[in-house]
C-alpha cells in the first residue's frame, strides 16, 4: 500500500478551503497551518499564466525528516504516511531544516507538527479532510498500489510533476499540469 495525493492545478482556484478544513479537522492552532496555497504568475500583461497549488507534506518515500530525527519521533507508517509522535519529539527542529518543501512547523505545545494525510480518517477508509472539502474536486487521494484508486487513475491519464525532484526524496504529492 502506498498512499499518494494528486493536486489538479488546472482546477484549483486557490480558495484556501483545504487549509481551513485541515485546521478544524486536526485542531491546528490559529496562526499555523499544515497545508497552504502557492500562486505562481508567469509572463507579462496580457500574456499570462497562473499556476495554483495546494501544498502540504509530500510523505516522501526517502524522507530526510525521518532520517535526521534524533529521537525516532518522525517515522513512516503503513501506506507510507510520515508521522511525528508528539511525545517523542523534543522540538529540536532538525526535520524542519531538512524538509525541501517547508512542510513542518513548530507547534506551540513544543513538538513539530505537519500534515498526517488525516491518518485518523484514512485508516477508516475515508479521504483526508482537505480532499473531501475541496469545492473544485482538485484533490485526489488513494493507494498507488491499487490501479483503480482515484489517484492511480488520474495519474495514468494526466500529465504531472513533483516538486523538487532533484532532492531525491521520492515525494508522493503529485501536481497535475
Amino acid at each position: 500500500m502506498r498512499y499518494a495525493m494528486a493536486v489538479d492545478t488546472k482546477k484549483c482556484v486557490g480558495c484556501g478551503d483545504c487549509v481551513v478544513a485541515c485546521q478544524t479537522e486536526n485542531n491546528v492552532p490559529h496562526g499555523y497551518c499544515r497545508d497552504w496555497i502557492v500562486e505562481n504568475v508567469a509572463g507579462t500583461y496580457p500574456k499570462l499564466e497562473i499556476e495554483l497549488r495546494s501544498e502540504r507534506c509530500n510523505h516522501c518515500e526517502n524522507a530526510p525528516c525521518v532520517r535526521c530525527c534524533p529521537t525516532g519521533a518522525s517515522h513512516i507508517v503503513d501506506g507510507g504516511i510520515v508521522l511525528v509522535t508528539h511525545d517523542e519529539c523534543i522540538g529540536c527542529g532538525a526535520c524542519i531544516e531538512s524538509c525541501p518543501y517547508d512542510a513542518r512547523y513548530p507547534h506551540p505545545e513544543g513538538y513539530v507538527d505537519k500534515c498526517t494525510f488525516c491518518v485518523h480518517r484514512v485508516t477508516d477508509g475515508e479521504n483526508p479532510a482537505c480532499v473531501d472539502v475541496c469545492p473544485t474536486h482538485c484533490l485526489h487521494f488513494g493507494d498507488l498500489d491499487d490501479p483503480n484508486s482515484d489517484v492511480s487513475k488520474i495519474l495514468k491519464n494526466r500529465k504531472w510533476k513533483v516538486l523538487a525532484p532533484e532532492a531525491g526524496t521520492k515525494p508522493q504529492l503529485y501536481f497535475l499540469t
Binding site: 488546472k10 482546477k11 482556484v13 486557490g14 480558495c15 484556501g16 478551503d17 487549509v19 481551513v20 478544513a21 485546521q23 478544524t24 479537522e25 486536526n26 485542531n27 492552532p29 490559529h30 496562526g31 499555523y32 497551518c33 504568475v41 509572463g43 507579462t44 500583461y45 496580457p46 499570462l48 499564466e49 497562473i50 495554483l52 508528539h86 507547534h107 506551540p108 505545545e109 488525516c118 485518523h120 477508516d124 473531501d132 472539502v133 475541496c134 469545492p135 473544485t136 474536486h137 482538485c138
Partner: protein
C-alpha cells in the same frame, strides 16, 4: 441639531471583558478555540454529535452539519451531501464559519448609547428588558407622532425575515437590502425586460452542462459562489470553453481558453460587436429567434455598423479575437452561457449592459435550454398564520419626483438614505432605522450621504453578531447569536429540483446573545403586535410549516435537507422549441424592449463613453477574495489566517513610474480627495491593467473592537464617493471612481 452619534470606539466603560490584544501568532490569545485545555488532537466523527444547519456566511446558504464534541464545543462544519448548493463541500468561509462562533470580539450584551456630562458618548451595557423597552418606546413614539411609514429596515440574510415581518406588521413598506441597488438589481430588471423573468438566486445558470461559459467581469473562483465553482470545475473536466472578459487576469481568466483583457467601462461595445458578428455571419439560432423573439429586424439594423473593428477602437480587443470568440459561442449554441454576473452595478448603464448580455443569450438560443439557463423550482411553504399587514399610506418613493427609476422592483437602499434626509418637498422623512446583519458603512457607497442620513435619525437600532462599523453609530445595539446557535426560517431557494433545508442550533447562544426570531417577537410584544408572532418557540412555526409540506421538524433534524419532486417536467422548457408565452408586453423575448421604450429609455442597448481617469489617477476596481464575505468575515480568526488584509494591485509599469515596490505600504486618494484610513500594501503584479488598480472589498475596518480586522487594509467603500446612478432602476454604479497614490502618510487636513 445633533452632533451626537460620533463613531464610538466601544472600548469605553461598561462593556464587559477587556479586549484581547492583537497577537497574530501568540499562543495565549489565539487558543480560544478547543485547545485551551491542552486538547490538540483530532477527534473522530464517532465522538461528535452533528446538527443540521445551512450556512449564513454568504447568501449561497449551503446546507451542512455542525459537529459538536462531548464538551459542547463546536468543532467543525461539514457540507451535506444531499444539498445541491454544496454537494457536501463547503467553501472556505463555510468551513471557517466556526470562527464566527468562537470570535472573542463578538457582541455580548445589549448596548445603549449614553452621553456624559462633558458630551462624550459611550455604550452602556444593558439588560435585554431595558434595551427592548427602549427600542419599543422609540418605535411607539415614532408611530404615534409621524406614522409607521417613517421607519425603515435594512437587512441582509436569512434572519432578516423575522424583522421584515415585524416592520410590515408595524406598518412600514420601507424594507431594503443592499443586494438590489448595490448588487444584482440591474441584472434582474434587464432579464425581466427581456424574458419576463429574472435570474434568481442561486442563479439559474446551467454551468454544469454548458459547452461554452462566458464571464463578463464575473470572477467565479474569487467570488466563492459554491455551486457555481463546483459546476465550473465540472465544466472544465467536460472540456467546456471558458471565455473571460476582465481587465484583470482573474483566477477564472487563468482557467480560460480566451481571456479578453478589455479596457474598463467598454463592455457594451464588445457585446454589441458580438451581436454584430452573430447576426451578420448568420450564426444565430434561427428557429429560436424566429419563434420566440421580438425586434430582431430592429436589432439587426441597430448593430449594423458595430463591427469588431469599431469595437476594437473602444475596447482594445483584437477584432479577430472578437470574431473567434463569437464563433466559438455559436458553435456551442444552445449549450452556451453568457453569465449575467451578480454584482453588476458598475457604470450607471448597467441595466443596458445586462440587457446586452440577455440579448446575446437570446440570439444563441440559450434561455430555457440545457447548458444555458434552466427553469428552477422551489418549495412554497405556507405562511404561519398571522393577521393581515396594515396598508402603508406612504413610502420611500415619495422622496423622489414621479418618473425616476421607473423600473425599480425592490426598495432602493440608497433611496432610504435619500428619504431620511429632510427636504422641503417631503411631508415626512424617515426617522428611524433598524439595521440587521449588514454593515452599511461597507455595503453602501457614498459614506458621506449615509452618515448624513443617519445624523437626521431619531434612532438607529443595529442587530448584529459583531461590532461592525455600523454598530458604532447605533443608539441601541441588540446582539444576535450566530447562525450556529439558532433556528431560522427554512431555506427554500430555487434549484433544478426543489429542496428545503433546516438550520438548527448546535450550541446554546454564547454570552447574552439571542436569536433574531426571539428579538423580533419580544419587540412585537412590546409594540402591541404580539398577534403577529403567535408562538412560543420558533420550532412551533417550523414544525407547522414542515408538516404542511409532508415533512416535520423531527424529520428535518435528522436529514437537514429534503428533496421534493418537480411540479412540472420543464427544466429545459424551450429545449425543443415548445410553445411558450413570455411575461413581456409582446409575449416574446424582447430583443427590442417595448417596456423600456414606453418608459422613455433606450429600447436597445447603446455604448456610451464613460469618464476616464485623469493623469496620475487609476480606475478603482474591486472584487472578492474566496475566503471572505464582504466585510463581515474579516475578523473571523480562521479566515483572517488565510487573508489578513487586502492589497492594492498595481501594474509593474505603473509601479515603476511611481517608484513603488511590491509590499510597500501606501495610501490611496480618490478624485474627491478622500484618503484611505490606513496604509495598504502594494501588490505589484502583471495581473492588472495599467489603467486601473484593484482592491478586494471589505477591509480597512475602523472599529478597534474588531481586534484582528481593525486597521488592516483599505476600504474600497470609502473611496467610492462618486455614484453613477442607473436611471432605469436606481442602481448605484460604483466603478467610476479613480485613485492616485500617496507614499507618505497624509496630514489630517487631507482626510477632512
Amino acid at each position: 441639531m445633533k452632533t451626537r452619534r460620533d463613531f464610538i470606539k466601544i472600548s469605553a466603560a461598561g462593556v464587559g471583558a477587556a479586549a484581547i490584544g492583537l497577537h497574530a501568532l501568540s499562543w495565549d490569545s489565539v487558543t480560544a478555540q478547543f485547545v485551551a485545555d491542552g486538547d490538540t488532537s483530532p477527534v473522530s466523527d464517532e465522538e461528535l454529535t452533528n446538527y443540521p444547519t445551512f450556512c449564513e456566511v454568504c447568501f449561497w446558504k449551503c446546507a451542512g452539519f455542525t459537529y459538536v464534541d462531548k464538551k459542547g464545543n463546536i468543532r467543525k462544519i461539514i457540507g451535506n451531501k444531499d444539498d445541491p448548493h454544496s454537494n457536501g463541500r463547503f467553501c472556505p468561509r463555510g468551513t471557517g464559519g466556526v470562527g464566527m462562533y468562537w470570535d472573542e470580539d463578538r457582541l455580548q450584551t445589549p448596548l445603549i448609547r449614553e452621553t456624559k456630562a462633558d458630551g462624550t458618548q459611550y455604550f452602556r451595557k444593558a439588560s435585554w428588558d431595558e434595551a427592548l423597552n427602549l427600542v419599543a418606546e422609540k418605535m411607539n413614539k415614532l408611530r404615534l407622532e409621524h406614522g409607521p411609514e417613517c421607519l425603515a429596515l435594512f437587512s441582509h440574510g436569512t434572519g432578516g425575515k423575522h424583522f421584515s415581518h415585524l416592520v410590515k406588521a408595524y406598518g412600514s413598506p420601507n424594507i431594503t437590502a443592499p443586494s438590489f441597488a448595490q448588487c444584482r438589481g440591474p441584472r434582474e430588471v434587464a432579464f425581466t425586460a427581456t424574458y419576463g423573468e429574472d435570474v434568481m438566486s442561486p442563479e439559474r445558470t446551467d454551468i454544469r452542462d454548458t459547452k461554452c461559459l462566458v464571464l463578463i467581469g464575473s470572477h467565479i473562483g474569487e467570488n466563492m459562489h459554491n455551486g457555481q465553482i463546483q459546476e465550473m470545475s465540472e465544466a472544465i473536466d467536460q472540456g467546456a470553453t471558458i471565455i473571460t472578459v476582465d481587465p484583470r487576469f482573474s483566477t477564472a481568466a487563468s482557467k480560460s481558453k480566451y481571456w479578453l483583457p478589455i479596457k474598463p467601462a467598454t463592455d457594451i461595445a464588445l457585446l454589441l460587436a458580438w451581436m454584430h458578428v452573430i447576426i451578420y455571419e448568420d450564426l444565430y439560432d434561427k428557429a429560436y429567434v424566429e419563434k420566440y423573439t421580438f425586434g430582431f429586424k430592429e436589432l439587426k439594423e441597430h448593430v449594423k455598423n458595430m463591427t469588431p473593428e469599431w469595437a476594437y477602437g473602444i475596447t482594445t480587443i483584437d477584432p479577430n479575437v472578437i470574431r473567434k470568440t463569437a464563433r466559438e459561442m455559436a458553435a456551442a449554441s444552445p449549450a452556451v452561457l453568457v453569465h449575467p454576473g451578480r454584482h453588476v452595478t458598475w457604470y450607471g448603464d448597467d441595466t443596458q449592459r445586462s440587457r446586452a448580455i440577455a440579448i446575446v443569450n437570446a440570439l444563441l438560443g440559450s434561455w430555457g435550454r440545457r447548458g444555458g439557463f434552466y427553469n428552477p423550482e422551489k418549495v412554497h411553504l405556507p405562511k404561519y398564520p398571522a393577521p393581515p399587514y396594515p396598508k402603508p399610506k406612504r413610502s420611500w418613493r415619495d422622496a423622489y419626483p414621479p418618473g425616476k427609476y421607473k423600473l425599480v422592483t425592490e426598495v432602493l437602499s440608497t433611496g432610504i438614505c435619500d428619504a431620511s434626509i429632510p427636504n422641503a418637498d417631503l411631508d415626512c422623512h424617515l426617522r428611524g432605522w433598524i439595521v440587521y446583519g449588514t454593515n452599511l458603512m461597507a455595503s453602501l457607497p457614498d459614506q458621506k450621504k449615509t452618515l448624513e442620513a443617519i445624523s437626521h435619525l431619531d434612532f438607529l437600532v443595529v442587530i448584529d453578531t459583531m461590532p461592525m462599523d455600523i454598530v458604532q453609530l447605533a443608539d441601541v445595539v441588540l446582539p444576535e447569536c450566530t447562525y450556529l446557535e439558532r433556528y431560522d426560517p427554512i431555506r427554500t431557494s430555487p434549484h433544478r429540483e426543489p429542496y428545503i433545508a433546516l438550520r438548527m442550533p448546535a450550541a446554546e447562544p454564547k454570552h447574552e446573545t439571542k436569536p433574531g426570531w426571539w428579538i423580533a417577537k419580544e419587540l412585537a410584544k412590546r409594540l402591541g403586535l404580539g398577534d403577529y408572532f403567535n408562538y412560543e418557540n420558533y420550532e412551533d412555526v417550523l414544525d407547522w410549516q414542515l408538516k404542511k409540506v409532508g415533512s416535520s421538524l423531527e424529520e428535518m433534524k435528522r436529514i437537514g435537507v429534503k428533496k421534493f419532486n418537480r411540479e412540472f417536467d420543464d427544466l429545459y422548457f424551450l429545449q425543443n422549441l415548445e410553445d411558450f408565452e413570455f411575461n413581456t408586453n409582446t409575449g416574446k423575448i424582447e430583443l427590442y424592449s417595448t417596456e423600456l421604450e414606453m418608459e422613455g429609455y433606450d429600447p436597445m442597448p447603446k455604448y456610451t463613453h464613460h469618464e476616464e481617469p485623469a493623469d496620475g489617477y487609476y480606475r478603482l476596481n474591486y472584487g472578492r477574495a474566496p475566503m471572505h464575505t464582504f466585510s463581515r468575515t474579516s475578523n473571523n480568526h480562521n479566515l483572517w489566517d488565510l487573508m489578513k488584509e487586502n492589497s492594492v494591485w498595481i501594474n509593474p509599469k505603473v509601479a515603476k513610474l511611481w517608484d513603488i515596490e511590491n509590499g510597500q505600504y501606501i495610501w490611496l486618494k480618490n478624485q474627491d480627495g478622500i484618503v484611505t484610513d490606513f496604509p495598504v500594501k502594494a501588490r505589484v503584479t502583471e495581473r492588472i491593467r495599467w489603467d486601473s488598480v484593484y482592491l478586494v472589498h471589505g477591509f480597512g475596518h475602523t472599529d478597534k473592537k474588531l481586534t484582528r480586522a481593525y486597521g488592516h487594509g483599505a476600504s474600497d467603500s470609502k473611496l467610492v464617493s462618486k455614484i453613477h446612478m442607473d436611471p432605469i432602476m436606481g442602481g448605484t454604479g460604483m466603478r467610476g471612481n479613480f485613485v492616485t497614490f500617496l507614499k507618505e502618510k497624509p496630514g489630517k487636513e487631507v482626510n477632512a
